[in-house]
């Protein structure tokens, strides 16, 4: 009397057995009793990877405390604050720092104006193909990289560039359009625009069109709607975008190097020169650490006053 059970040679499909094996392995490597800590297991690799940056900062701090011995060209054994005194006492660095800060402020304002209009158009436009075209126009330069874009500007604005050649055709003498403050600002605004738009869009999407209609039907003109409705509601996005644009501009290297032609150095260029031209690593490290500190204090202050805005990661709803 045999029951019609499974045949002796029946086997489950291979991938079932494999999966069971993997599950058992997982139970051994990370037992269920550890489930409370799975979140930490998941985040550990990221913490380690970013730890490289912390190690880097420690290294920078260490070398910033060592003075370059001009006789042997080796960093000193003992620590001192000489490099910081030198950095703060040198007038060139104050000029460079002031240029970076003012350029960052100007770029932030200009970029936010352009980005707000762009993001607004992107969110409110009705036709799908226009929206797609606007998105592609935005992503293409974002994905091309700074060097190639700056190279494009060199072709356009150079002494024998497109604009000057075109002006020459109508009899205007060549002008120096590159290697000045204006060119650097222009290049920076163009570079930052995609970042700003992408950070503003989520904030603008969250504003229902009806609020604007409502304000309008109550008699507000569009500048008033913009000032009293859109701007306050978009504040988290504006703060996030403004902060990113300001800090990225403040610390940019490529645009001042390529469009400023050495006459418009920012802090990053000064730091680079200390490491690779003057070879005074200690002084360069001191400058780098001061830049890191300034940036972090700024970000920290904005976060404390306004919250992380659209920059928060993985926030629960």
């Amino acid at each position: 009397m045999s029951e019609p059970g499974p045949k002796q040679d029946f086997r489950y499909p291979l991938h079932w057995r494999l999966m069971d094996g993997v599950e058992r392995l997982a139970d051994i490597v990370w037992p269920r009793s550890m489930a409370r800590h799975t979140g930490w297991l998941f985040i550990a690799p990221a913490l380690l990877l970013v730890g490289l940056l912390v190690l880097g900062l420690v290294q920078i701090a260490d070398s910033s405390l060592r003075v370059l011995d001009t006789a042997t060209f080796l960093p000193s054994e003992d620590w001192s604050l000489t490099n910081y005194e030198k950095a703060l006492g040198t007038k060139v660095y104050l000029t460079v720092a002031w240029r970076s800060v003012s350029a960052a402020a100007l770029t932030t304002v200009l970029t936010l104006i352009l980005a707000f209009a762009y993001a607004y158009a992107l969110v409110r436009v009705r036709k799908a193909w226009i929206r797609k075209a606007l998105l592609i126009t935005l992503f293409l330069p974002f994905f091309i990289g700074q060097v190639v874009r700056a190279y494009g500007w060199l072709i356009i604005l150079g002494n024998s560039g497109m604009v000057n050649e075109a002006l020459g055709l109508i009899g205007v003498a060549p002008m120096r359009l590159l290697f000045n403050y204006g060119a650097v600002i222009f290049g920076l605004v163009q570079y930052m625009l995609p970042f700003a738009v992408l950070l503003l869009v989520p904030a603008l999407t969250a504003i229902p069109e009806e609020t604007e209609t409502a304000a309008g039907s109550l008699g507000a003109s569009w500048p008033r709607i913009f000032w009293h409705v859109l701007l306050p509601m978009a504040k988290p996005g504006l703060i996030g975008a403004g902060l990113v644009v300001f800090t990225l501009t403040l610390t940019d290297f490529a645009v001042p190097a390529m469009l400023g032609g050495g006459s418009q150095d920012f802090i990053a260029n000064a730091i680079y020169d200390q490491f690779f031209r003057t070879a005074d690593q200690g002084l360069g490290a001191a400058l780098a650490l001061m830049l890191v500190a300034a940036g972090s204090i700024l970000v920290g202050l904005v976060f404390m006053v306004f919250g992380a805005g659209t920059l928060a990661m993985g926030g629960r709803k």
Partner: protein
């Protein structure tokens, strides 16, 4: 929209469109010139500069190195970023604020600081001079991008789905690969494409971490720019334009560009 509003908004948008696109279009045009210099008006069309760069060994090798760096960066960032994005959005961790601030370090530390720090660290480990540290460095400095993409997909996943899978007998690994991972896939794809293209284009950190023997393509272009602008660099730049277009096309096909228009 009122008339004046339309004019103001679209006036600004058109200005943005022109400034965003002009360098790309000009580089494309310059690469096709028949002359020996970039001149305006153009001196006829030819593909001679593409022929020239196709034969240049240093350019090919720099391009290959950039691809390797981007591949390493993406390969590192996908698992690390996906797991971190999931951890931040689907698990209750203590000290979440502190972790967030810590994981934003790649953005809050200026690139020149990160680059020099990593240069000193890798230098001390005696690994400078190979490409993988450059790839790792690119993964570190852009890590927040992939964490953002993944966690914004992950908050949309209903936790009940995972519980349902488990109550149907799926183990933890199975639930992860058949429920959790497919749900965050749009975020993973977006994040990894971003990581790839950003590493491909990375300039400053590459400049700090490479030496003359292993220059990547953006560094090579930067080093080759002289006062006279020759069209071969324009032809090389077109390679970047083509790659950027390919990534945009992929992004649109796989997840849709509109993913960036979501509210937060």
């Amino acid at each position: 929209m009122s008339r004046s509003q339309k004019i103001t908004i679209w006036g600004l948008v058109w200005f943005s469109i022109i400034t965003l696109s002009l360098p790309t279009l000009v580089v494309l045009g310059a690469s096709l010139t028949a002359g020996n210099m970039v001149a305006f008006p153009p001196q006829g069309l030819s593909l001679q500069w593409y022929e020239k760069i196709a034969l240049a060994r240093d350019l090919q090798q720099a391009f290959l190195r950039s691809l390797i760096v981007a591949a390493i960066c993406t390969a590192v960032a996908i698992p690390v970023g996906t797991l971190a994005g999931l951890a931040l959005s689907r698990f209750r961790l203590r000290f979440t604020t502190a972790i967030q601030v810590y994981l934003l370090l790649p953005f809050t530390i200026p690139l020149i600081g990160s680059g020099i720090g990593l240069m000193l660290v890798f230098g001390q480990w005696h690994v400078l001079g190979s490409l993988w540290p450059v790839g790792i460095a690119c993964a570190v400095i852009n890590l927040p991008f992939i964490i953002w993409s993944v966690s914004s997909s992950a908050v949309l996943l209903d936790p009940d789905l995972e519980l349902a899978a488990q109550s149907c007998g799926a183990g933890r690994v199975q639930t992860f690969f058949h429920v959790t991972l497919p749900a965050v896939m749009p975020g993973v794809i977006t994040g990894s494409l971003l990581m790839f293209i950003l590493a491909m284009n990375e300039f400053l950190v590459s400049l700090l971490l490479v030496d003359a023997r292993i220059v990547t393509l953006p560094v090579l272009i930067y080093n080759s720019i002289r006062s006279i602008i020759t069209p071969d660099l324009a032809a090389v730049s077109v390679v970047f334009i083509v790659i950027a277009l390919a990534v945009i096309w992929l992004l649109d096909r796989l997840v849709g560009l509109e993913i960036f228009l979501k509210s937060k």
